[in-house]
């Protein structure tokens, strides 16, 4: 809403932006980020889903009506921005503890201790890229700030990354600012979290864990780069809880997922990088929304097809697919299978594409399992004619619907305990953009730089 209003104001047309009461602070901070701190609002007391039509009428025809009139006819006072530091300015001097207290007080850290971002520490990161620290990669919302090589390095230092992770961090931010991903939506109420998937030779070079406990803290590359994602959203984009980040519950940042490419290729499949149009072994990051994650425990079976049916049954256990029927969006679930599962599939001749097609045909949601407002969302989608081939056109609830638009919507990655038969399934549940893959560009003297670290 606020982005649309800002666009209209820029055209010279006055606006009033309508919000529920719990969203006033987010609306004001988002408007500030867009350069319009005094954007007028009409505010519904509390959430509209919680009032009946009579109360809605009283609110909308009462105080909100006057706010609409005032917002369009009374000129608010303009407000300016205060001066901010330049990138090399020293903003604080102190001990480790004092630096951490200062960063907490300014909302520059999420509560865990940060590594103090000294100029020397930042410059150690900059040695692992050939790009200028002043290069602007894109515009970060909601605060409308520059994404630069410099502020990537600063937040990498703070998050506990190693300097050699810098090429991965840059690729992640390049993916973040790609309009296809839609990072501006990350402050919405479903609290969308992001899964970062790494492919290529760099997995071993940087010692990512891709085996047992692939999504558990305990491995520096997987953990600190996952932390970096949310640190950057906080400090560079400006997503702050109680302000611009309105995640109802939110969730922790996700540990970075690295693919077990040895297992994939030894069993005759291609890694995820090939699905994205690159070569096997290419160094890549993929970012995809992954708010919901569910583990399908013990899907193992001597029959590969029964394994697929066990996975599909668990996909329908949650409501990861609301935006598919509601807004007609393409939903891209990620399915992480273990080498043990992959072996049964490949021993029985299943290609990755055949697995995707099986998921597409057989993973179904019983509509009657939806309830409340979500049923209304379903009816709306049917009225709009969304995906008739997959959803049908009937309002009947006692039937099964498909959950994605095409077999290719499934992202399949191999990782986790090589000997176990569990499967992890993740997806977004709110409106967000789509997965983005970017190449990780290492500096020209990458081998020497890595070698020098190991000789120390």
């Amino acid at each position: 809403m606020t982005r649309a209003s800002a666009l209209v104001e820029k055209l010279g047309i006055p606006t009033v932006t309508v919000l529920c009461g719990g969203f006033v602070k987010q609306g004001k901070f988002t408007a500030k980020g867009l350069g319009l701190p005094n954007l007028p609002h009409a505010i519904h007391p509390g959430h509209v889903n919680l009032v009946d039509d009579e109360e809605l009428e009283r609110n909308v025809a009462g105080p909100m009506l006057q706010q609409v009139i005032d917002g369009l006819t009374i000129q608010p006072e303009e407000a300016g921005f205060s001066a901010e530091p330049d990138k090399r300015d020293i903003v604080f001097r102190g001990t480790f503890e004092e630096v951490n207290e200062h960063f907490l007080a300014n909302e520059w850290s999420e509560g865990l201790p940060i590594v103090p971002p000294t100029i020397e520490a930042v410059e150690r990161f900059l040695r692992f890229t050939d790009r200028s620290p002043d290069e602007v990669l894109g515009r970060l919302l909601p605060d409308s700030r520059e994404a630069t090589i410099w502020n990537i390095a600063v937040n990498g230092v703070m998050s506990g990354c190693r300097p050699e992770y810098m090429p991965v961090l840059i690729a992640i931010v390049e993916a973040m600012v790609d309009p296809k991903f839609g990072h501006e939506h990350l402050g919405h109420t479903p609290g969308t979290e992001t899964l970062i998937i790494v492919n290529g030779r760099i997995i071993k070079e940087l010692e990512f864990n891709y085996a047992q406990a692939a999504l558990r803290p305990g491995f520096q590359a997987n953990t600190s780069i996952g932390r970096f994602w949310r640190m950057y959203l906080r400090n560079a984009c400006g997503f702050l809880p109680h302000k611009t980040d309105k995640g109802c519950f939110g969730g922790n940042f996700r540990i970075v997922l690295a693919e077990n490419e040895d297992a994939v290729t030894s069993m005759g499949w291609q890694p995820h990088s090939v699905d994205e149009g690159y070569e096997a072994g290419d160094n890549l990051v993929t970012i995809t929304s992954c708010t919901e994650m569910t583990q399908a425990i013990e899907v193992g079976d001597p029959s590969a097809e029964q394994i697929l049916r066990n996975i599909e049954a668990r996909m329908a256990d949650n409501h990861m697919f609301i935006q598919f029927f509601f807004r007609g969006m393409v939903t891209r679930p990620t399915v992480v299978i273990t080498p043990a599962i992959l072996k049964v599939l490949t021993d029985q001749g299943w290609t990755k594409q055949a697995v995707r097609e099986h998921f597409y045909e057989h993973a179904k949601l019983r509509v009657s399992r939806l309830s409340g407002m979500i049923v209304e969302r379903f009816y709306k989608g049917i009225r709009e004619g969304n995906w008739p081939e997959q959803l049908g056109t009937s309002m009947e609830l006692e039937r099964d619907i498909q959950m994605v638009s095409s077999p290719d919507d499934f992202i399949i990655v191999v990782a986790g305990d090589a000997d176990r038969d569990h499967v992890e399934i993740g997806s977004g549940n709110g409106y967000i953009g789509f997965p983005v893959t970017k190449r990780i560009e290492v500096p020209k003297d990458w081998a020497n730089l890595l070698g020098s670290l190991r000789r120390r």
């Binding site: 369009l72 102190g94 502020n151 400006g238 807004r327 969006m329």
Partner: protein, 102 residues
């Protein structure tokens, strides 16, 4: 004695282009008001009420329904917003009510 650190700021320069709010209208009489909606959270009901109430107060006020613009928050958001300046100019819109953020 603990080591001291001199630290830098973790954010980046604002890219705000110094926009200011549009000039407000003297009155809503005879003005054309467009409705932008994300198609959730009862905006359709709200716009019906405002059309009724504002029409009763301001002679000649007109409305351009949210149906004319499409959903402003969804898979087509970028396209809907890209089309918006042309549509608003062609429709000679004087003001916009935009919602619903929930």
């Amino acid at each position: 004695m603990s080591e001291n650190y001199e630290v830098v700021w973790p954010s980046g320069r604002r890219m705000s282009d110094g926009k200011t709010l549009a000039k407000r209208l003297d009155s809503l009489e005879g003005k054309k008001v467009a409705e932008l909606w994300d198609w959730v959270f009862k905006g359709d009901k709200m716009f019906d009420i405002w059309e009724r109430e504002l029409s009763a107060r301001y002679e000649g006020i007109e409305f351009v329904s949210w149906r004319e613009f499409g959903e402003i928050h969804g898979a087509n958001e970028h396209q809907v917003l890209a089309d918006l300046p042309r549509k608003l100019r062609e429709m000679e819109v004087d003001a916009v009510i935009c919602g619903v953020g929930c």
